[in-house]
């Protein structure tokens, strides 16, 4: 491996890059295995839905597991493939901290969507239902 000259005078030190590609291939296999687990769970959910009465709790649990696996994949892509793990802490924090807004963003909007559904189910009547009572006409 050749010696590095800093790309610009702003660079204080050149991070030591791995000499071999072992870590890259390990991450590739890890991502593949995580994807295969996700696909297995996806097919399990598909089979649960085929039952006459699907177990909603089980489906929700499996969906939660897929979400966690996806976050794990995202972590490995960003940290190893995008080399964010090798950057200095200052840079990592300016990227990761703003993304924490997503936690509230997702929670608030999904709760809002759910409440929208429940309000509609509670107050909406079928289109052909009478919306107001008409007083009988007196002679």
């Amino acid at each position: 491996m050749s010696e590095h000259t800093p790309i610009s005078p702003e660079i204080t030190f050149v991070p030591a890059h791995a000499e071999d590609t072992k870590k890259i291939w390990r991450t590739f296999w890890l991502l593949s295995v995580l994807t295969i687990i996700e696909l297995t769970i996806g097919l399990t959910i598909y089979n649960i839905h085929k039952e006459p009465v699907p177990n909603a709790t089980l489906v929700l649990a499996f969906k939660g597991m897929v979400c966690i696996l996806t976050l794990a994949k995202a972590y490995y892509i960003v940290s190893v493939f995008m080399h964010l793990g090798e950057e200095v802490r200052n840079l990592i924090m300016t990227i990761v901290v703003p993304l924490c807004l997503f936690v509230w963003f997702i929670t608030a909007f999904l709760v809002d969507g759910n409440s929208w559904k429940e309000l509609r189910n509670r107050y909406n009547r079928p289109a052909d239902a009478p919306t107001e009572q008409v007083a009988p006409v007196k002679e």
Binding site: M1, E3, S8, W25, E38, G113, R120
Partner: protein
């Protein structure tokens, strides 16, 4: 020559050096990707909000169950897993190109860039096939008491709740938002893949012309790589939101 780590007590913020130990271009690429993540996040969250507000949502296994040259077979998740693996693999070849760039190995960078470009083109072709399949594939759907045949577009789809009609189960029209969000978000992602492929082609040509050897470093490959990995990262979430759950 460079040291492996910073000296103790380095004054990062007193000027003259990057507090992030990265060039301006790389830092700005990271910030661009972060803002792009918010764009995609907003799209996906608005899709989630609409989906949570519906009593019925389309079952992805009924929509995405075909494979090229095997139409008519029920193969849920098969084609999308192919697309996912294509994108993961092209991510690996990209990171290998960056690695060869660190070693100043021009031939290695060229080879891995070619593989990455092929991976990106293969992914785009898969997406084109999938869109074509949805836009032309017609399914029976019960509309106002009559069986019609509908394709899947931004304004309608035939994957609504099933009802009994003349003794057999038949779909009713599905939620409109399904098609609009699917084509919007996969289209926006596909556009990113497309621009990524263009960027990678430009990087390949610049490598071939020896521009990075003259410059003494392959940082442009790293920056293009950041963009390419971001595209893969977004696909991980699109895959989750549209195909798995």
């Amino acid at each position: 020559m460079s040291t492996a780590t910073a000296q103790q007590g380095t004054k990062w913020w007193s000027g003259g050096r990057s507090p992030f130990n990265a060039t301006y271009g790389k830092v700005m690429m990271w910030y661009f990707l972060m803002s792009d993540a918010f764009t995609f996040g907003a799209f996906l969250i608005s899709y989630g909000t609409l989906r949570f507000s519906q009593n019925f949502w389309v079952d992805p296994n009924k929509v995405f169950n075909s494979f090229p040259f095997a139409e008519g077979h029920n193969l849920p998740l098969a084609f999308v897993s192919l697309m996912t693996f294509i994108l993961i693999f092209s991510s690996v070849t990209m990171v290998l190109a960056v690695h060869e760039g660190h070693n100043m190995n021009r031939k290695g960078v060229e080879n891995y860039m070619i593989l990455t470009i092929i991976g990106g083109a293969a992914f785009l072709s898969c997406q084109a096939w999938e869109w074509h399949h949805l836009l032309t594939g017609e399914h029976p759907v019960l509309v106002n008491g009559v069986i019609e045949h509908w394709n899947t577009t931004v304004s309608h789809n035939p994957f609504g709740p099933e009802v009994m009609f003349n003794g057999q189960l038949v779909h009713t029209p599905g939620p409109i938002a399904f098609g609009s969000y699917f084509f919007e978000i996969t289209g926006f992602h596909g556009f990113h893949v497309f621009s990524g492929v263009i960027i990678n082609i430009i990087m390949y040509i610049k490598t071939k012309l020896g521009h990075f050897d003259q410059r003494g470093h392959y940082e442009m490959i790293e920056k293009a790589g950041l963009y390419w990995h971001f595209v893969d990262l977004v696909w991980v979430f699109v895959f989750l939101c549209f195909y798995l759950v």
